[in-house]
């Protein structure tokens, strides 16, 4: 059966994920070394050690994401994160930076290493590069691929593949996007944040609400429309060819209906996005996918509408997995 990999931004969420049936939980340290570097989120060294003890006692694994790109002249901070995660007993490290993978492979040759989605390894050659140079055992595939493409890559891949099945959806190739830092000075690659709340403003006008990021208007909502969070690539913009959601509608990924295809493609693990989300989200989404996987095994039907409250704008998409735009 495919492994279910679940997010945890806090020890409480981690416990919920285990209770709900996660095979593995991924988390990060509470600093700039991980790509969900939000205030009040993530784990101290001590919390990580306790989390690993708890998870191992319940038969679950802990994967530690150290997936930002180390700042020049400060790579020690990232090296310490790797060393501490290894000594705490992490089952795998999720890394994006080549220099950090090189360090980890040399310093901790027995440590299991996963290639983060932030490394944007989108084909078997790129994957083989990581497997050959650093002994990577698994790659988290970018969300730009269709199911047939995933099947082809997995067939040729030098290591296991893991794909996102639920949650926030990058429309740009992950780890290769500077839109956030262009508007705010803060980027996923460097600071571990995208469209950070510190740079968001909402303004009430006679027509409704205007949301901005770093002084750029990202969207306008009428009084009857709920005002969504101004994630840059999911805003409404204007061009000579027309206005609207130029990059992507504000929707979340939900691949519940594609689980069979992903299993047949040979995918090893399914990943749920959302380390920044609360316990209720983790609990419900993990339980939903646990049931869906059990249903897949037994050949019965799955409830496909159950997750609607947890999707962005209550709308979901199959993303690139079904390339309707191809």
């Amino acid at each position: 059966m495919m492994e279910l990999i679940c997010p945890a931004g806090t020890p409480a969420a981690l416990k919920s994920a285990i209770d709900a049936g996660a095979d593995a939980i991924y988390c990060g340290f509470n600093d700039e070394t991980n790509a969900r570097n939000f205030p009040g989120l993530n784990f101290s060294r001590d919390e990580l050690r306790k989390a690993i003890a708890l998870a191992h006692g319940r038969g679950a694994k802990i994967l530690v994401a150290i997936n930002t790109f180390p700042r020049a002249a400060a790579v020690d901070i990232w090296h310490r994160a790797v060393d501490d995660a290894v000594s705490a007993g992490a089952d795998a490290l999720i890394l994006a930076d080549i220099g950090l993978m090189d360090y980890t492979a040399r310093r901790h040759p027995n440590q299991r290493l996963h290639v983060s989605v932030q490394a944007a390894a989108a084909n078997p050659d790129a994957i083989a590069f990581y497997a050959e140079n650093f002994g990577a055992r698994r790659v988290v595939l970018p969300r730009v691929l269709s199911v047939p493409e995933i099947a082809e890559i997995t067939r040729e891949s030098a290591c296991e593949t893991e794909v996102f099945v639920f949650g926030g959806l990058c429309v740009m190739a992950e780890g290769r996007c500077s839109l956030s830092s262009y508007a705010t000075g803060k980027s996923p690659n460097m600071q571990g944040v995208c469209s950070p709340p510190s740079h968001v403003t909402y303004e009430q006008t006679a027509e409704g609400t205007k949301s901005s990021l770093g002084g750029f208007t990202i969207n306008r909502f009428g009084t009857s429309e709920p005002a969504g969070y101004p994630t840059l690539c999911k805003g409404r913009f204007s061009t000579a060819q027309g206005a609207g959601y130029i990059f992507e509608d504000p929707v979340s990924l939900d691949a519940t209906t594609l689980l069979r295809g992903l299993r047949d493609a040979g995918v090893t693990a399914l990943k749920i996005e959302g380390r920044q989300r609360g316990r209720a989200y983790v609990e419900s989404v993990v339980r939903h996918f646990r049931h869906a996987l059990a249903a897949l095994e037994s050949g019965s039907e799955t409830d496909i509408a159950g997750l609607k409250p947890f999707t962005e704008g209550q709308a979901s998409t199959l993303g690139a997995y079904r390339k309707t735009w191809r």
Binding site: F69, P70, R71, A72, A73, V75, A96, D97, I98, G99, D102, Y103, A119, A120, A121, A122, N123, P124, D125, A126, F129, Y130, E132, V144, E149, E152, V171, M172, A173, G175, R176, C177, S178, L179, S181, Y182, A183, T184, G185, S187, N189, M190, K210, F216, T217, N219, R220, G235, F237, S238, T239, A240, Q241, G242, A243, I246, F247, A320, W325, R326
Partner: protein, 311 residues
């Protein structure tokens, strides 16, 4: 300090593309020229026939020629194309995705601005793999640039110094989406916008530029005022990215300021005249939002740090 010309990122008519490089070969004071379609593999066949003549003309003019690899490689056809490129002889391949690096297997090469090198450890890894030139990602601040350049003294470190800044790449084509076309049947609508399609906010603020699967800044990077500072930080080359404007004039301006024949103020006036209506930006270098422009104080590019770096 070398000047290099990056690849044309837009979909230009093939003859125009060819003639652009012929003129660069004959008139532009650049040392290195990177050619090839790096944004969209669907566009590649159009310029393929002209590449040999362009490479020959540039080399005869004394330019070092680099052949750029695709930024995002996912289709089988794109992998094959990348592998073929990696076997090219007589020119250095400019790697824009790690797919290409594996095929190069340790042979000398250049690294383009689309490969994530954020620190000295990654730069050292690439140097050990055979990288002779590295054009760093545009979002890097000066402190990082200086630390990286110091760590790999044998590698020519290059910085993106002129042109709309590439900010993102996607599997999805936004030109096709806007024209309500499927990507596989896009009718190459991006050719209508040789300088990209302007994307504004709903309040009509200039914001970004769409170029098929690529998203660029609306502003034009301009590091002319920082050239002296970059030289002191061991940056060995400045990259000029082709826009739909007189790139020979742009190259001459940079060369004149670098060589002390013009000062930064004069150079900036010439750049603004060559590429009118597009504001400058240099925020990334100063660890600020990338769209901002911090005006360097008057002085020449050779001046001390305190003069050039000051607000």
């Amino acid at each position: 300090m070398q000047l290099s010309l990056g690849p044309v990122l837009y979909n230009w008519a093939p003859e125009r593309w060819r003639d652009f490089y012929f003129r660069i070969a004959d008139e532009a004071p650049v040392d290195v020229v990177s050619v090839g379609e790096v944004v969209c593999s669907k566009r590649s066949p159009f310029i393929a026939d002209h590449i040999p003549a362009v490479v020959e003309r540039l080399q005869k003019a004394g330019k070092q020629v680099l052949l750029g690899s695709l930024i995002l490689v996912s289709l089988r056809r794109e992998r094959r194309q990348t592998e073929e490129l990696a076997s090219a002889e007589g020119v250095l391949v400019e790697v824009n995705d790690l797919t290409c690096l594996r095929a190069l297997a340790g042979r000398p090469h250049a690294i383009g601005p689309f490969v994530n090198i954020y620190n000295e450890a990654s730069a050292a890894f690439h140097a050990a793999q055979g990288a002779e030139r590295i054009c760093l990602p545009p979002e890097l601040p000066l402190v990082s640039v200086a630390a990286i350049a110091k760590a790999v003294p044998d590698v020519t470190i290059e910085l993106f110094a002129f042109g709309r800044v590439p900010l993102a790449i996607s599997a999805r084509c936004y030109h096709a989406r806007l024209h309500k076309l499927a990507k596989d049947n896009c009718r190459f609508v991006c050719e209508k916008d040789p300088d990209g399609l302007i994307l504004n906010t709903l309040e009509q603020q200039d914001f970004l530029t769409i170029n098929g699967v690529q998203t660029l800044s609306h502003t034009c990077a301009n590091l002319l005022g920082e050239a002296g500072l970059l030289r002191e930080s061991n940056v060995g080359s400045l990259r000029l990215s082709p826009q739909d404007c007189d790139m020979v004039a742009v190259a001459r301006t940079f060369r004149d300021v670098l060589d002390g024949r013009d000062d930064v103020d004069g150079g900036n006036r010439r750049l603004a005249a060559a590429y009118p209506g597009v504001p400058f930006s240099n925020g990334f270098l100063w660890a600020e939002p990338g769209h901002l422009y911090r005006q360097a104080r008057s002085g020449d590019a050779h001046g001390p740090v305190s003069q050039i770096g000051a607000v």
